[in-house]
Symmetry: C2
Subunit: 188 residues, 2 copies
DNA sequence: TGCGCTTTTTACCATTTGGTAAATGATCCC
DNA sequence: GGGATCATTTACCAAATGGTAAAAAGCGCA
């Protein structure tokens, strides 16, 4: 749990008792590679924090193709938060792409923290908003060519090429597998 | 101010007195076409709500090219909110691309609403998070070809081609002006 | 109205990327 | 270990997009 606490304390202060309370509300969840954390068409039921592993956000476009929209790895929240809050159904899947260890909070427990810890809402919203902000900044830039997008991807996620299949990275970058394979070859 | 109040009440309830308080903290701001609402490298000082007009988010990439990252129009918040909250400097410009009428809240006034209206923080955070969420969903999809991106842009922003220059739309969609012009021609 | 300026369109060709298919490489399971 | 399955690379050609340049259209202003 230390990772989670360290993460939270970036956004505000909690005393020992409050930290204990947060810990008591979280549960360990192990996901196997390919397991879903949440699914398109369903209402997200939990907020997660990734202790170990990589999760991707993905959906199927109107031609049935599977598109990877984002990658989320250690020390980050994972949740379709707007739909979690509003009890509305999600439009994407959140899927483990390696074996993962998460700390998860049920909606009930997550809300109880708001009621019992003064200042929790402030911390919570800063966390959520920073996550959303970073997601929008770390993603591939549409006006760059595919090679540049891949090079920037490597800077943002240096370890990923070893951890996740090429096909996921290709769809994330908006190119075909073949093109990405060619780009890799030309870089060397 | 009715537009603003209608917008806010989507996210929670306020009584008449509270509505008056919100109104009293907002100020009208008229922007001329090409004026900046906030600038890269500076700390955002205000939250805005667009009553009339179109604003774009843009920045200069490492080759000095100007990239339009998003469009924001009527009945929407406009603010680099994470940097506004954290008093950190923004990485992009928010620029009026038509004459605009905004209602703006200084940081001081915005924070006073939190202190004086119970439940304001809840409303505020829902507004901000929905804005961030929508921005991430309305944008061009990198895995689609340029024609599809333009067609979806037209669905999301049907009136824009008449209101904003082609060059902004082109950089938003990640294509050159020439390509976008050709795409327009082929669609007809 | 006519001039100068900016925006948009068009044309040409070079380059990048996609689609299809096959070959190679890696992994899993029996 | 061997065979089946999946992931990645390579090749070939077609299609889409970019770069440069010039023409046409639109717009503000005297």
């Amino acid at each position: 749990m230390e990772e989670l606490i360290g993460y939270i304390l970036q956004f505000g202060n909690l005393n020992k008792q409050q930290i204990e309370l947060v810990i008591s509300k979280g549960q360990i969840l192990q996901l196997k590679k390919e397991d879903y954390f949440s699914e398109a068409g369903k209402i997200p039921k939990e907020v997660g924090f990734i202790v170990e592993g990589v999760v991707r956000g993905c959906y199927y476009n109107n031609t049935g193709e599977e598109i990877t929209r984002c990658f989320i790895s250690e020390n980050s929240l994972v949740c379709d938060y707007v739909n979690f809050e509003a009890d509305t159904s999600s439009s994407e899947y959140l899927q483990a792409i390696t074996d993962c260890c998460l700390i998860v909070f049920s909606k009930k427990n997550w809300e109880e923290l708001s009621h019992t810890i003064v200042g929790w809402d402030n911390i919570k919203n800063k966390m959520v908003q920073l996550c959303m902000y970073q997601k929008s900044r770390k993603g591939p830039v549409i006006s760059q060519d595919a090679t540049t997008r891949y090079l920037e991807f490597l800077e943002n996620y240096p370890l990923f090429p070893n951890r996740v299949p090429l096909s996921y990275i290709a769809s994330y970058l908006g190119v075909t597998q073949q093109s990405l394979s060619r780009i890799r070859k030309n870089i060397r």
